[in-house]
């Protein structure tokens, strides 16, 4: 039969277990608002029983483990959802930032200004002898180019912002991967790597932060190391206790991941997160808008110049002179080495007009387009007639007709107009901008809903519920008090026994 002393041990184990359990509850309460914190629970188990006279007597209780209620599959889903959400949100914000430049309210906007230009041509056709109407054509052409260039600069400005974001994100990503690798080292070196709950929670919280910045895939190895690769699988960011640094180079920042002496360019190989979205905005989405602006403006300039040069304007004395190009500008051949399949369109002297035999390279042409300075100085150079007669308006009518003609915009870069009229192409472009904004807004909202649902599920399974903690605190408080009372009782019995024995011996 257990003696009184061993009974004291049983009582003591109860006090200790309750105290430890209450400590866990206190830890839970303290972290009720800690991001990523997973509710912990003390796992109680009975101490091994003791055999006295073939009877098994219990020896109390102990805390076997402090366990977290963690759902790894849910964490994996959440990480991917966060990357998807932040990627869509960033893309949406990037498009939303340039969308107002494409808006057309009938007062400003590309179509409005193009309409204004073609209207000035039609008005001049009504009075081709008028110098003031020719001046109006030159002014409208300049206003139209200003609108194109303003829109262009808004888009290039946003590309610059995206580039700056890339520069800012890479150090943040490196900091996070380094911290995660450090936690990997700490966790995997524990006696039981699966029970370093707080470090695992911290690592998960950092992983969620990382997923917001860059699209990733995660997996856990047998030592409970979190392995992290880019979402495309193109490079490893964290492996065990090692973090592989991201680097950037060049003005248009190229992103690489360095492992040892090997550097892997991953610029086009990141889909999710803010980094993937900013690279996508900078290298694909926004340049797509620029290409369309170049195509419309370059085609318009080329078409108008061709008609202009087929007709006649007049010099200062009113004498007919052969038509000159209305627009000057050059495309930028940015291929290196120069692509032999693309001509270098030079609208300045129209020595190389875009044609099927000289496919245009309109890249960047919007920025260089100007109204021919000769025509600005002498607006009567605007070609109105086909034969030099002052009242003939056939050339200016033909020029004005370009505004409603199909097959005027070369979207394939083969020197042949394949789309149009200009206003329809611009409307389609504006529609595409709006549709992309709508699409990424919807995707971001859906991803937000998914993230919220997963977060709710995670919180429901693993979050700290103060009511639950209070109930358990009461329970362990009572157990502690009962164990203390038990010890007190055993103590009294021991004292009484000692007193009795002292009296008997005395």
């Amino acid at each position: 039969m257990p003696n009184l002393t061993s009974s004291l041990g049983v009582g003591l184990s109860g006090i200790q277990a309750s105290q430890e359990a209450m400590s866990v509850i206190g830890h839970n309460i303290a972290n009720v608002n800690t991001p990523g914190y997973t509710q912990q629970a003390a796992v109680l188990t009975t101490n091994p029983s003791q055999n006295f006279s073939n009877l098994q007597f219990g020896s109390g209780v102990n805390v076997k483990a402090v366990q977290s209620l963690r759902n790894q599959f849910l964490n994996l889903q959440l990480t991917q959802s966060i990357a998807g959400q932040s990627g869509s949100e960033t893309r949406y914000k990037g498009i939303q930032a340039v969308a107002p430049a494409f808006a057309d309210d009938g007062t400003t906007g590309l179509n409005t200004q193009m309409d204004g230009f073609f209207r000035s041509l039609k008005t001049l056709a009504g009075n081709p002898e008028s110098t003031s109407l020719a001046e109006n054509v030159v002014g409208s052409a300049q206003t139209m180019l200003t609108e194109f260039q303003s829109t262009y600069q808004t888009v290039t400005g946003q590309m610059h912002v995206a580039n700056q974001e890339v520069a800012a994100l890479v150090p943040q990503i490196n900091t996070l991967t380094t911290q995660i690798a450090s936690l990997n080292y700490q966790i995997s070196n524990q006696v039981d790597p699966s029970h370093d709950n707080d470090a695992i929670d911290q690592r998960q919280a950092l992983t969620d932060q990382l997923a917001k910045l860059v699209g990733i895939q995660t997996s856990t190895d047998s030592a409970n190391n979190l392995q992290i690769t880019l979402d495309s699988g193109a490079a490893t960011l964290v492996s065990g206790g090692s973090a592989y640094q991201m680097t950037t180079s060049g003005n248009n920042l190229q992103v690489a991941v360095t492992s040892g002496n090997v550097s892997t360019d991953v610029t086009g190989l990141i889909t999710g997160g803010e980094l993937g979205a900013n690279l996508d905005l900078r290298d694909r989405m926004l340049p797509g808008y620029l290409t369309q602006l170049d195509q419309v403006a370059g085609s318009l300039a080329n078409q108008v110049n061709t008609v202009s040069m087929s007709g006649y304007g007049t010099d200062a004395s009113g004498k007919p002179v052969k038509g000159v190009p209305m627009f000057t500008g050059t495309g930028i051949d940015n291929s290196n080495p120069p692509d032999a399949n693309f001509g270098h369109v030079n609208l300045k002297d129209n020595s190389q007009p875009a044609s099927a035999s000289n496919p245009p390279n309109y890249h960047g042409i919007v920025n260089s387009l100007t109204v021919n300075p000769d025509m600005v100085a002498a607006p009567n150079l605007v070609a109105t007639s086909c034969d030099g007669n002052s009242g003939d308006n056939s050339t200016i009518l033909k020029m004005a007709g370009l505004g409603v003609a199909a097959g005027t915009v070369d979207t394939k870069g083969d020197g042949v107009g394949d789309s149009g009229p200009f206003s329809s192409v611009v409307t389609a472009m504006v529609n595409a901008v709006g549709t992309q904004a709508q699409q990424y807004n919807a995707t971001a909202t859906n991803q937000e809903n998914l993230t919220s649902a997963l977060q709710t599920q995670k919180t429901s399974e693993s979050g700290v519920d103060l009511d639950q903690e209070a109930a358990q605190l009461l329970s362990f408080q009572q157990a502690y008090q009962a164990s203390a009372q038990f010890i007190s009782t055993i103590s009294q019995l021991t004292n009484q026994l000692m007193t009795t024995m002292t009296s008997a011996m005395g």
Partner: protein, 306 residues
């Protein structure tokens, strides 16, 4: 199964809901304050494209209306000259009849010839009519004086410095209208200068016949002028048809543009009753959510542990 509802869960979900309500409220408020149903391109890309297409159509139609007005003004100038020419021709025919009358004397014939010559000079002046600074019967050589009378008194020939050019205006992608009548066609007729259809030549012939008391010449000139008068009436009618056509197109385009404007307004303008109702709903939802959040997190079991 009972779902655990930890404290963070309430807060995060409620905060998300609150943010969405505030976002919707702000969006609706912007619609109300701007009067526009589509504030951002992404709100309704299809609607935006429709508005832009309508705007382009309205703008182009306005251009065609303006071209029609220009054409109408130019034709009006020609029309006024043709009316005056008609009156001159009527007078020439009266004078021709007088010249052919049996009672005419050599003196009276000379007097008639003088008036005929004056009418001829007037006709040449009419051929040199300018509108908005350009010669309207010079073909496309609108800055050149088209008709120059021959030298000396009783000149019989004129020099035509214009051309046969037709000036056209576009009234739609498929409709053009000629806004001028070249002086060569109007004054010389299909036979060309110096022929029986040449108004100025036949007027000179009438004058010379009267001066020379050449009854046959007067008769021939008189007959030719009658034919020319009929042709002039055809030209007047043709010009009138063109003017009516422009006016009809003007009415049609104005009505069509009004319809397009209404259609555009339907898409682009905010529906105020709907928007204000939405604002009220969002406001109520915001209040309700705020109250719910406050009450949900007001008490825990810890509040009852003494």
């Amino acid at each position: 199964m009972t779902m655990r509802v930890p404290n963070l869960m309430n807060n995060s979900q409620s905060l998300l809901d609150l943010q969405r309500i505030k976002q919707e409220y702000a969006g609706t408020a912007l619609q109300v304050s701007s009067g526009k149903a589509i504030v951002n391109l992404g709100d309704d890309p299809a609607g935006t494209a429709q508005i832009m297409n309508d705007q382009t159509s309205i703008s182009r139609n306005a251009d065609y209306l303006a071209a029609g007005n220009t054409a109408a003004a130019q034709m009006q100038s020609s029309s006024e000259v043709l009316t005056t020419m008609g009156l001159h021709l009527d007078r020439l025919l009266e004078l021709g009849q007088e010249g052919l009358g049996g009672t005419a004397t050599a003196d009276s014939q000379a007097g008639i010839a003088t008036e005929v010559d004056a009418l001829r000079t007037d006709l040449i002046s009419l051929g040199n009519t300018q509108a908005s600074g350009k010669y309207i019967f010079a073909g496309t050589k609108t800055t050149t004086v088209p008709f120059v009378d021959g030298p000396g008194p009783d000149a019989t020939t004129v020099t035509y410095n214009g051309n046969d050019g037709i000036i056209k205006m576009e009234l739609s992608p498929s409709v053009t209208v000629a806004t001028n009548i070249p002086g060569s066609a109007l004054f010389f007729g299909p036979g060309g200068q110096g022929s029986a259809t040449d108004l100025l030549a036949q007027t000179a012939a009438l004058r010379d016949g009267l001066l020379n008391n050449d009854r046959e010449q007067v008769q021939t000139a008189y007959s030719n002028l009658q034919t020319i008068s009929s042709r002039l009436n055809v030209s007047v009618a043709d010009l009138g048809d063109r003017e009516n056509g422009v006016a009809a197109l003007d009415n049609g385009l104005t009505t069509y543009n009004q319809n397009l404007t209404n259609q555009q307004s339907t898409i682009s303008s905010v529906d105020y009753p709907k928007a204000i109702t939405q604002l009220n709903e969002d406001s109520v939802a915001q209040q309700a959510t705020l109250n719910t959040v406050a009450k949900t997190n007001a008490k825990t079991l810890f509040d009852y542990i003494v």
